[in-house]
């Protein structure tokens, strides 16, 4: 077991003929992900790497291959419509890797995705990996190992650093999820915490947050009320300078300064054990999973 993806995941890659899409499609296939189709409008009928059929639309790809998950590598200007196309075609799990999607676009994408009963991960995220089964996105497969720790993170390379420490010390992972750091994202900490809590193959959870916003504080409240598995947390940006701020709206809406200190306090109050350094994950998780 795992969350969101596993051996049964049949993936369609939107933007498979692009530079990034092609590179990562190959990497995912080498890892063992079941890449069943690619989509690039205008390139339908081609074969990617001589074996993966390319279609003009996601609807065509589903009809011909039975794809049940999608990953998006199209440029920012087309990313919002690519997400909506996947949702409209009936894909229930959509991962958007694209960085730089205008936030205004996302305000229209999210209600649409929900109305179709789909889940979006991202945008601007590294994707996710269920070690030994399937990887969707760009997380390097070789640093992960199968096991029973679930990991959810707002950042990319910091995730790799922490996973690397776990794997090096013989602690494997059930699923590692990068939710992305954009203001409007499809899947947040709480969605992942709930899924890990419900996943019988996950024994402990690692949550990597950052300064800014109040997502970590809300996640901490959720942990206090609904998560019985041990949770270990980290907040990056303890030494980040306070930005020069324009206007008052940001402070009014969140009622918070979003500092690392405030977030770490929220973690501790919720019984989450706080890592001071990435390497601390080994000691804090060790023996819990």
């Amino acid at each position: 077991m795992s969350i969101f993806i596993d051996r049964s995941t049949q993936l369609v890659v939107q933007g498979i003929t692009g530079r990034d899409g092609g590179f990562h499609a190959k990497q995912m296939m080498e890892y063992g992900t079941n890449v069943v189709a690619g989509v690039t409008p205008g390139k339908g009928g081609q074969k990617f790497e001589g074996k993966v059929p390319v279609f003009h639309t996601v609807a065509d790809a589903i009809r011909e291959t039975g794809a049940n998950a999608s990953v998006i590598y199209v440029p920012p200007a087309g990313a919002a419509s690519a997400v909506m196309e996947a949702a409209d075609a009936g894909i229930k799990f959509i991962v958007c890797i694209t960085e730089g999607v205008p936030v205004m676009d996302m305000t229209r994408v999210m209600p649409y995705v929900r109305s179709k009963g789909a889940r979006l991960l991202g945008p601007n995220c590294p994707g996710l990996i269920t070690p030994g089964e399937s990887k969707v996105g760009i997380i390097p497969g070789n640093i992960c190992a199968p096991g029973r720790v679930g990991l959810v993170s707002r950042s990319g390379t910091l995730t790799y650093e922490v996973v690397h420490h776990l794997t090096k010390n013989g602690i494997g992972q059930s699923t590692c999820v990068g939710i992305g750091g954009d203001p409007i994202i499809g899947t947040n900490f709480i969605d992942c915490l709930r899924a890990f809590q419900d996943d019988p193959a996950t024994d402990a959870i690692v949550m990597l947050g950052e300064i800014g916003g109040t997502d970590e504080q809300q996640a901490a409240e959720f942990v206090a009320e609904h998560v019985t598995k041990p949770v270990v947390g980290f907040i990056a940006g303890q030494t980040a300078p306070k930005g020069r701020r324009m206007g008052h709206a940001g402070a009014i809406i969140s009622g918070s300064s979003g500092t690392a200190e405030e977030k770490m306090q929220a973690f501790e109050a919720a019984g989450i054990r706080v890592m001071k350094r990435p390497v601390d994950v080994v000691e804090l998780v060790g023996g819990k999973a």
């Binding site: 200007a77 305000t107 390379t157 203001p183």
Partner: protein, 379 residues
């Protein structure tokens, strides 16, 4: 991207929001000329990307054009929270009866633009939010439909009783929505929205931030960027495709990825050092980016040692190693460099670095404690 007040005013006025006509001056002469043309008492306002201008002495009332000139000569060149004032806005001074607050912000939680409106406007609005949050009305707006007329009226009714003022305010709510959505804003704020003794409703100050992700498809907005309003090294970094923020410490940091960059700075502090900067070279590294990164960091005389912390994924560690090699061939680096790298093409990277007499470390804690020690020796 933050806009100056005068730029935000232009966008709001284009959407129809009633504001005083004014002018922007870069010299005391220009400020005097604008005040003379306006023919009444004026306010001279520093144009900088930060709040708290008034409290810093950057906003002054002038009864005469001569006085406007005097204030402008003091405010232009003034330093407010580390930023130098290049321009002032000169606008008529208003006779104010009431001050309200109207803000529109992209909200993470509701995933929609949210109005925040309060009859208790002015500089202490955050205090109002903290102590009497019930005095602020919030309204998330469905972007598919926009702000509906009855919603605009409802918001306006929380500000005024007098119906002509209510109608005027409702129109301003709609116009703010237009300005926000037409310009891909993440924040648009009128503070204060005032009424005058003759019953007019006017926006006196405007703040707009544009979502950086809009700038690629909106060259008209991108050209509003004012490089002089930012730290020069940060401007140079942006031109080179790097994200850079200058800090006060002496350990230069070059990292791939924002989260790891912040965690690296935190670790420098943990081992007793002070980071000199935040620098993210981004995902797909090419050697040229690394050369630029080193150039920017070494131009800060406070830097006593430099740390590379690279976790290769999309970033190829051999690209980074080649960048370091090229940089050292192009210009002398007088301070010690500690390199930590692991991940994609690590073996090749180590070989390149050994070729120029450098060793690469694989462990982040080891690298950080070493660079902190080197910076301390040199300080």
């Amino acid at each position: 991207m933050n806009l100056h007040e005068y730029q935000a005013r232009d966008l709001l006025m284009k959407a129809g929001v009633p504001m005083f006509e004014g002018g922007v001056a870069a010299t005391p002469d220009e400020a005097e000329a604008i005040a003379r043309k306006l023919g009444r008492a004026v306010v001279v306002k520093a144009q900088v990307h930060t709040g708290g201008r008034g409290k810093a002495g950057g906003v002054k009332l002038a009864a005469t054009p001569a006085e406007a000139r005097e204030h402008a000569s003091r405010i232009i060149g003034m330093n407010i929270k580390g930023l130098t004032v290049e321009k002032v806005l000169v606008v008529p001074a208003a006779d104010i009866s009431t001050e309200a607050y109207v803000g529109l912000i992209m909200d993470r939680e509701t995933q929609r633009p949210v109005y925040m409106v309060s009859a208790a406007g002015g500089v202490d609005i955050e205090e109002v939010a903290a102590t009497t949050p019930e005095k602020i009305t919030r309204l998330p707006v469905d972007p598919v439909y926009g702000l509906l007329p009855h919603q605009a009226l409802g918001l306006a009714l929380t500000l005024y009783q007098d119906y002509p003022k209510v109608k005027a305010a409702a129109r301003i709510m709609q116009q703010l929505w237009t300005a926000f959505t037409a310009n891909g804003a993440s924040l648009a704020e009128i503070n204060p929205l005032v009424t005058t003794p003759d019953g007019e409703v006017l926006a006196l100050d405007a703040k707009i931030s544009i979502d950086d992700n809009e700038l690629d498809r909106r060259p008209d907005l991108a050209q509003l960027r004012d490089d002089s309003a930012e730290e020069p090294s940060e401007v140079a970094a942006r031109a080179a495709g790097l994200t850079f923020i200058k800090l006060d410490g002496n350990v230069g940091c070059v990292v791939n990825g924002a989260g790891l960059a912040m965690a690296t700075m935190d670790l420098v502090k943990y081992y007793g050092g002070e980071p000199a900067n935040f620098l993210d070279i981004g995902g797909s590294s090419n050697p040229e980016k690394v050369v630029n990164a080193l150039r920017i960091i070494t131009s800060d005389p406070a830097v006593k040692a430099i740390l590379f912390n690279i976790f290769g994924g999309i970033t190829r560690t051999d690209d980074v190693a080649n960048g370091i090699k090229t940089a050292l061939e192009q210009f002398p680096v007088q301070v010690p460099i500690v390199v930590r790298l692991t991940g994609t093409n690590e073996k090749e990277a180590v070989r390149i670095l050994e070729g120029i007499g450098m060793t690469a470390l694989g462990d982040m804690d080891e690298a950080v404690s070493r660079v902190v020690a080197l910076a301390r020796e040199a300080a």
